[in-house]
């Protein structure tokens, strides 16, 4: 049964269409990786799901259903209720994941306060427990964002996302700002949670290696269109679209190192 159903989604500015009617579905418990080069429209598509498009961008769609509810007709309050509670986001820039002026604990608390009527005591316990689940030290709650290392902060952002056990986590390039070592750590943890909670993940990246490692299914985007869609194993073994083949070839291997990496289209960078 599908959790999120998108069909014919278009995003445009006043002058130009950025996303040209894409279709995507995510089943409950599915981890979908959306791959594509920079500027292919991954982020704006993801933002349009929970009505978070920046000013000046508008979305239209034939169908936009989340867990049986029609998002196209949902009220502002409905969206507010949805965000952070049922659909959670993790963005790329960990530095900006939290307001620099308040301690992390305070900001997690704000989220809980917005969506529950729990007592402060319970909220505090829950926040601490969530951090622990991500193997983050408990004193993180009392620190300001800039007092925390990059990997930890990105995991704290993940904590903010999973606080209320959302049905869908949208992770928009959550690791590009991290080094390879920390990136893997964060994704490992996201994978653990997904397994444990059975939530769905919409994972946006342009790193095919990571997608292959963590996702069940993949969609490859280029120029505002989905070029290919399938299970991870299908795509790695039998890529159909040229863009897919290029991306796969570009990953340097650890063994049997070639003299050159295969690059499909010379002269374009």
């Amino acid at each position: 049964m599908s959790l999120l159903e998108i069909s014919g989604l278009r995003v445009s500015t006043a002058t130009q269409e950025l996303v040209h009617g894409i279709d995507l579905t995510i089943d409950k418990g599915e981890w979908l990786a959306v791959i594509g080069e920079s500027g292919s429209g991954k982020s704006v598509s993801a933002f349009s799901i929970a009505d978070l498009l920046p000013r000046g961008l508008t979305r239209t769609a034939d169908r936009l259903m989340f867990d049986g509810a029609d998002l196209l007709t949902l009220s502002k309050a409905g969206y507010r209720e949805l965000r952070g509670n049922r659909i959670a986001y993790v963005f790329q820039d960990y530095q900006q994941a939290f307001s620099p002026y308040y301690r992390i604990g305070k900001q997690l608390d704000e989220v809980l306060k917005a969506h529950t009527d729990w007592k402060p005591e319970r909220r505090r316990e829950h926040a601490a427990a969530t951090l622990e689940r991500l193997s983050l030290p408990g004193d993180l709650l009392h620190r300001y964002p800039f007092q925390v290392s990059g990997g930890q902060l990105q995991r704290a952002a993940l904590a903010a996302a999973i606080l209320l056990d959302p049905a869908l986590i949208i992770a928009d390039e959550p690791t590009t700002a991290l080094d390879a070592v920390n990136a893997s750590l964060v994704l490992d943890q996201l994978a653990d949670i997904q397994k444990e909670k059975g939530c769905s993940v919409l994972f946006i990246t342009h790193n095919l290696r990571l997608a292959g490692k963590f996702a069940d299914t993949m969609a490859i985007m280029q120029d505002g269109c989905v070029k290919e869609r399938g299970t991870v194993s299908d795509i790695f073994t039998a890529p159909k679209a040229a863009i897919t083949r290029n991306l796969i070839a570009a990953i340097p291997p650890l063994r049997n190192i070639p003299a050159r990496l295969p690059v499909a289209l010379e002269g374009v960078a």
């Binding site: 959670a88 963005f91 002026y101 969506h115």
Partner: protein, 311 residues
């Protein structure tokens, strides 16, 4: 550690200030002697002028004068006003409340204006209310304060007679306050407006929105907080135009403040007063800047804690 460094910087600054105060006066032509001898009503000879100069120590070598000056400053002795024979401290102390009141009222009014107009500008960014706000800022930044004050005086006091022209009680402060606030407010309005607009697109504001926080929480806790930092920054800087403005406004409206005292001291070459004035202003500015610094620390914890975080 930080406090110690601040203290050190403060002392260096204070010393520089004494140097400036002393130098300004020594570089100046003329001295207080003519005024002390009342030459516009008493016939005196150049011989008498020289004698008084000698007596006042004005003919000592410059460095001796500076040391003597530093020495008396160390005892918090700012000297005696040659005009009145009163301790300078007392003179300034008497004039200070009026200036403080004027500056305080004007600043308060400017901040209220800034809060309202800044919010309006940001809320309607790009549309006509915003343009109106920007035009107001442009106008406010371009009108000579004293000119505005005189025009207002003419219109409201002389022609309409709705407010008194001078004096401090009974609404006498209305025109001076408004004139001064008009000059001081524009940078606040503009900065607040701009940073409100900019903050709305900050990533962490977006992140908060994605977590389903209410718009009010986002505005008051996250956007406003970020916008206050530049406002506080210019608070330190606009102090200058505020104090400068008070001098002019005090003169026009006959408000017996520090500015008026300084103007009088300037014409009478009452250098002890001018020196004390320089040091007073310097210290005020230093205090305000320290306050601004502290409020940064409160507004942006990163500033106070970053050092610690790294160490």
């Amino acid at each position: 550690m930080v406090a110690l460094k601040k203290l050190g910087e403060g002392l260096v600054f204070l010393w520089l200030l004494t140097l400036v105060a002393f130098a300004v006066v020594k570089l100046a032509p003329g001295d207080v002697v003519l005024s002390m001898l009342r030459i516009d009503t008493v016939a005196v000879t150049n011989e008498q002028i020289e004698a008084l100069r000698e007596e006042l120590g004005l003919n000592m070598p410059i460095w001796q004068q500076y040391l003597a000056y530093l020495g008396s400053l160390a005892h918090l002795d700012f000297g005696t006003s040659a005009m009145t024979g009163q301790p300078v401290i007392a003179e300034i102390g008497k004039a200070f409340p009026a200036t403080l009141m004027l500056a305080g009222y004007a600043l308060a009014l400017a901040l209220i204006l800034a809060a309202i107009l800044g919010a309006v500008g940001a809320r309607f960014a790009g549309r006509w209310p915003d343009r109106g706000v920007l035009a107001f800022c442009m106008l406010g930044a371009s009108i000579p304060t004293f000119w505005l004050a005189l025009v207002m005086l003419n219109v409201f006091s002389v022609r309409l007679g709705v407010v008194p022209s001078m004096g401090m009680g009974d609404g006498g402060m209305i025109l001076p306050t408004v004139a001064l606030a008009f000059a001081v407010a524009p940078p606040y309005i503009k900065i607040l407006r701009n940073s409100l607009i900019e903050s709305q697109d900050l990533d962490f504001v977006r992140a908060s929105r994605s977590r389903g926080l209410g718009e009010q929480v986002i505005f008051f806790r996250h956007i406003l907080r970020a916008s206050l930092i530049p406002v506080v920054t210019i608070a330190g800087v606009s102090l200058g135009s505020l104090l400068g403005g008070t001098v002019v406004v005090e003169k026009i409206f006959g408000i017996p403040g520090v500015g008026k005292l300084m103007l009088e001291a300037l014409t009478r070459r009452d250098y002890a007063v001018i020196q004390a004035f320089i040091i007073l202003i310097g210290v005020i500015v230093f205090l305000i800047n320290t306050l601004v610094d502290l409020s940064y620390r409160w507004l942006d914890p990163a500033i106070s804690l970053k050092g610690k975080a790294r160490a």
